[in-house]
């Protein structure tokens, strides 16, 4: 079992890291436009003459999609209807004809296709002829506007041609033309090598990047003097972000691995003691004969080797299977598998040496009276004190530096000590509790005289041996604690992302609109309008927000710690006429207090606008930064300011909501979607970083339950003798069962309660400090994972009943006469 656990720890850590890297890479690739991370090799001059040379240069590329030829004329001039020259972009991409609706027929040289909006805005007609870059072109075909919510992956490299500008203006003039047409106006023709759509490991991605670099260097060597360098791509950034996720997770994995290996060491030592006990006669004979401990140790190696090899292989398989099934990605690097295998071989050798050494030491103690006593109180107290000190240092580091921090699309931080705080804190608390158990158990050995007979017997068996009791309680506590803290932290990361997105966007979807919107009837209960304006409070910019008190609660909600009152109460406070004091306003994240009057400089207003603060809040739907925000009714804001931006907030938006708005003639601007407003890297890193703790919890659970089984087995003979005697004094089956339930259940329940308490304490201290975006409201918060607690309680209850039943069954089946004669 020890070998299995070691293998699971070592191989699991390696493979999990690899799995995280693959998942992080997949996430980053999916969040980046494939064209932006593609290698683009320009083909200048005579395309037919140059293309073969360029494709030859690109041969070393691996893990790329088949090459995509494209041509783009960014801004040639065109003359239309005698108006001054304007600029138009012409685009052709291999396969573009099938990417628009209706599909285009092949465009001949001199023919272009335009979208319906472009046709309307440029006031063109089918068949109309005009000149672009001196070339005569004919409007040959028209297609539906390309969907932009989201923009199809095919066009993502050219979003500027399809998306409205941030100011809400329609995209610039553009058209689709054939390669030949675009080439004739002096366009850039290129080959685009996108990352393969198959999932990649980090190693494969590195090979891809190497390939990009080699091909880029070769192209630059040949052509850069004539035409400049190959355009830059974002692959490097994509890989860097994926690596930063992996590094963050690795930093947290290391303390988990260390603790896991320490637990394994304890199991190894226990295994050594067990082997020595099993072969006690033989080992004592060797020790009495003065055989050197090293030779004694060597004598047990052949017997151990089979177990160690079997356990290691089984552990390797389990870890592989576990990471494959439960890891963030099932795609693992071959190098990680090989490295894990090599580490496992070393670990297996070390494990064999450890067990053999323990056996030799124990054997030597059979013959030599001057053996040193292991496990005195002082080292235990020193270990507990060291863990407490480590936890304090780790907490201070966490408090100062925080955890993984999100900065744009990058995640950074993940200090080893800071990230290890939850684990160190739990270890410290549980070790201290273990010391208390060791101290208390001998002192309560004779308590419980008034308890019912079965319960009393069970209780006295619980406190019979302080060492095993403390070991079981601590292992169960670590198992429960690790599992609970892992779930709390990884679920906490997910919750943080959701809550921050909701506050940032204000609801699920916020669309900036530039025209009056008639909300469809079926959307009425899930929409609200909000207006917004940047204004000055003295020298500082603040956000002025106008909300509709009647409908805002349909789309937004405010977390309890956002304000001392509910959202309804806050809105009611501002929903009234302007008074002599000023406009009733909620101050959000501002210094102003209730009753204060705030004077703002609002563009377009005749004079200062005076706000009367009637409520305060620390955050509010749509708050995006640390800039103070003042919230009033939309009507008051429009009275005070001329040019606010209007946003339509939609809760649980129906598919194609934005398209529907545009179809109704509404011009839209910035679109914020709560699901995709933040890059998930930092949250993924945080979530994945703490998942291995759950595995550690399972490991400790195995250790705890094995320890308990060992203790129960060791007491079997004693229990049978006691039972054989007691049944003659009226001890019934029910009492025996109750005794077994108490003997099994009390250490498990105490351990689980201890672990849960330690985990809740550690998680509640950690989560607010692990916030990847601390400047963005709302602050991260800890929610007690009741479902996990209930699950842990259920497992303990079931385990207790099953073991108690088996104890009673095994005890009752023994023959009293054989028991008294010492037969097994």
């Amino acid at each position: 079992m020890a070998s299995v656990l070691i293998a699971v720890c070592i191989v699991g850590a390696r493979l999990y890291s690899s799995s995280v890297a693959s998942a992080g890479l997949a996430e980053q690739v999916s969040e980046t436009c494939r064209s932006a991370s593609a290698l683009v090799l320009p083909i200048y001059g005579d395309v037919e003459a140059t293309e073969n040379d360029v494709r030859e240069l690109a041969e070393p590329l691996v893990y790329v999609e088949p090459v995509r030829r494209g041509a783009f004329a960014p801004r040639p001039l065109f003359n239309l209807h005698g108006s001054p020259p304007r600029r138009i972009s012409l685009l052709w991409l291999e396969g573009i004809e099938t990417q628009v609706t209706p599909n285009l027929k092949p465009l001949a040289t001199g023919e272009i296709a335009v979208s319906e909006t472009q046709l309307f805005q440029l006031q063109l007609e089918i068949g109309e002829v005009f000149t672009i870059g001196g070339q005569r072109v004919t409007v040959a075909q028209v297609f539906d506007d390309v969907a932009i919510d989201p923009l199809p992956e095919f066009f993502c490299g050219y979003s500027q041609l399809f998306m409205p500008t941030p100011g809400g203006d329609p995209p610039p003039p553009n058209a689709i033309a054939s390669l030949e047409t675009i080439a004739a106006v002096g366009a850039l023709v290129f080959d685009e090598y996108q990352i393969t759509s198959d999932p990649l490991t980090m190693t494969q991605a590195d090979q891809l990047q190497d390939g990009y670099a080699k091909v880029t260097e070769a192209w630059n060597d040949r052509y850069s003097q004539l035409w400049g360098d190959v355009p830059r791509n974002e692959l490097g950034s994509v890989l860097e972000r994926a690596r930063s996720v992996r590094t963050t997770v690795d930093r947290n994995l290391n303390p988990v691995l260390l603790i896991g290996l320490l637990a394994d060491l304890v199991v190894l030592i226990a295994a050594g003691v067990l082997v020595a006990r099993e072969r006690r006669k033989e080992l004592r004979l060797l020790a009495v004969r003065g055989v050197h401990p090293a030779r004694i140790g060597l004598s047990v190696v052949p017997g151990l080797a089979a177990s160690v090899i079997g356990g290691s292989v089984a552990g390797f398989g389990l870890a592989w299977l576990g990471v494959g099934l439960f890891g963030p990605s099932s795609l693992l690097e071959r190098s990680a598998l090989i490295a894990a295998g090599l580490q496992l071989v070393v670990a297996a050798i070390v494990a064999t040496i450890v067990v053999a050494t323990v056996v030799a030491k124990v054997a030597d103690s059979y013959a030599d009276p001057r053996r040193s006593r292991v496990g005195t109180t002082l080292p235990r107290v020193a270990a507990a004190a060291a863990l407490v000190a480590l936890s304090v240092v780790a907490f201070r580091r966490l408090d100062e530096k925080g955890g993984v921090r999100s900065s744009g699309v990058f995640s950074s931080g993940g200090d080893l000590l800071a990230m290890g705080f939850p684990l160190f804190a739990m270890l410290a608390v549980i070790t201290l509790a273990g010391l208390v158990v060791m101290w208390v158990a001998p002192r309560v050995r004779l308590t419980g005289k008034r308890l019912w007979r079965g319960v009393r017997l069970g209780w006295r068996r619980v406190v019979l041996e302080a060492g095993p009791l403390a070991a079981i309680v601590m292992s169960v506590a670590l198992a429960a604690g690790c599992f609970i803290v892992a779930v709390a932290l990884s679920d906490g990361a997910h919750l943080q992302l959701q809550e921050k997105s909701q506050v940032y966007v204000g609801t699920d979807l916020a669309v900036t609109v530039f025209d009056e919107v008639t909300v469809p009837e079926e959307w009425r209960d899930q929409t609200s309008f909000m207006s917004k304006l940047k204004v000055k409070e003295g020298d500082h910019s603040v956000d002025l927000i106008g909300v509709d008190p009647a409908t805002l609660t349909n789309v937004a909600h405010l977390r309890g710690d956002g304000a001392s009152k509910s959202l309804d109460e806050l809105l009611a406070a501002i929903d009234g006429p302007v008074t002599a004091d000023g406009i009733a306003t909620i101050a959000v994240g501002a210094d102003a207090q209730v009753g204060d009057l705030v004077s703002l400089t609002v563009p377009g207003a005749d004079g200062p606008v005076v706000l009367h603060i009637v409520e305060t809040a620390s955050f509010f739907p749509s708050k995006k930064s640390t800039v103070p925000m003042y919230v009033m009714t939309d009507a008051h804001l429009r009275e005070a300011a001329l040019f606010p931006i209007t946003m339509l907030l939609i809760s649980d938006p129906p598919d194609g909501a934005v398209e529907s708005l545009r179809d109704s003639g509404v011009r839209t601007g910035l679109i914020l979607d709560a699901e995709s407003s933040f890059d998930g890297s930092a949250y993924s890193a945080l979530r994945w970083a703490y998942v291995p703790l759950a595995a550690l919890g399972v490991l400790f659970a195995v250790v705890a339950l094995s320890l308990q089984l060992l203790v129960i087995t060791a007491r079997r003979e004693q229990r049978r003798i006691a039972h054989a005697l007691m049944v003659r004094t009226g001890f019934r089956r029910k009492s025996a069962f109750m005794a077994a339930v108490v003997e099994t259940g009390v250490p498990l329940f105490v351990g689980t309660a201890l672990g849960a308490t330690a985990a809740i304490g550690a998680a509640s201290l950690s989560i607010p400090r692990l916030d990847p975006m601390p400047l963005l409201d709302p602050a991260a918060r800890f929610l007690v994972p009741w479902s996990v607690l209930a699950f842990a309680g259920l497992i303990v209850a079931v385990w207790t009943v099953v073991i108690a039943f088996s104890i009673v069954r095994s005890t009752e089946r023994s023959d009293p006469m054989r028991v008294f004669h010492g037969a097994p």
Binding site: K281, R284, L285, L286, V288, R289, G290, H292, D368
Partner: protein, 238 residues
């Protein structure tokens, strides 16, 4: 202390073992129990010394002290010329390997029961750093003959009777050329017939030059001994 130093300390003319005012006190649940109380004795080479006395008289404790398996609380114990209280862990182990052989009271505890008698003999020799010799050799035949092993020496120890196992254990103690053989209750677990054979084996071994200290309350063993040291409640009474 190095082996060379030990050798320098040893003297050929010294008795094989000598106890002088040996006391052994145990702490049991906070109470002090005196197992051996100011016992002195000398074991000359080639003799069989019986430590006799009832159960709890301190025989086995004194034997364990002589066998470097326990340590006296006070007094001096010299074995093979070495003051064992002054020896380090390693040298005590070396003394157990080269100088002293111990035969435990339960016959099976002295053997690797899954191995044959011959294998046990060979292993015992190897443990003492002596190259195993052929079973046909004069030495082995002498040992086998002296303890009356007969043909069962080729059987596995597990299939032997208690008496056979005890004689095999005695042979294993003798094969390494040890200076002192310590035997604890060799007949305690045996019937009369087997006990008698063990007594003969002990006598034969002594006749071949072995020095034996045997803890016993068996009158036959006591009668066969050259020197009898009687213990009672830890004290030497004769």
């Amino acid at each position: 202390m190095s082996t060379d130093a030990m050798k320098l300390m040893a003297s050929a003319t010294e008795p094989v073992a000598k106890c002088d005012g040996v006391t052994r006190r145990f702490e049991v649940r906070g109470e002090s129990v005196l197992a051996v109380d100011d016992v002195s004795l000398t074991v000359e080479a080639g003799t069989m010394v019986a430590l006799a006395g009832p159960s709890g008289s301190g025989k086995s404790t004194l034997l364990a002290i002589l066998g470097c398996l326990d340590q006296q609380t006070s007094g001096t114990v010299r074995v093979g010329g070495y003051e064992i209280a002054e020896l380090g862990r390693r040298d005590r182990r070396r003394l157990r390997r080269n100088t002293v052989a111990m035969v435990l009271p339960q016959p099976a505890d002295n053997l690797l029961v899954a191995r044959t008698g011959l294998a046990n003999l060979a292993i015992a020799m190897r443990h003492r750093g002596v190259a195993p010799v052929s079973v046909e050799s004069e030495f082995m035949q002498g040992v086998i003959g002296s303890v009356d092993l007969g043909s069962f020496v080729e059987r596995t120890a597990a299939t032997m009777s208690g008496g056979e196992q005890q004689r095999l254990a005695l042979a294993c103690a003798l094969v390494g050329g040890t200076s002192l053989v310590l035997v604890d209750e060799p007949t305690g677990a045996l019937d009369n017939d087997n006990a008698a054979r063990v007594v003969v084996a002990l006598t034969n071994a002594t006749a071949r030059g072995a020095t034996i200290v045997v803890a016993t309350h068996d009158p036959n063993v006591i009668d066969a001994s050259d020197v009898v040291v009687r213990l009672d409640h830890g004290r030497r009474v004769s």
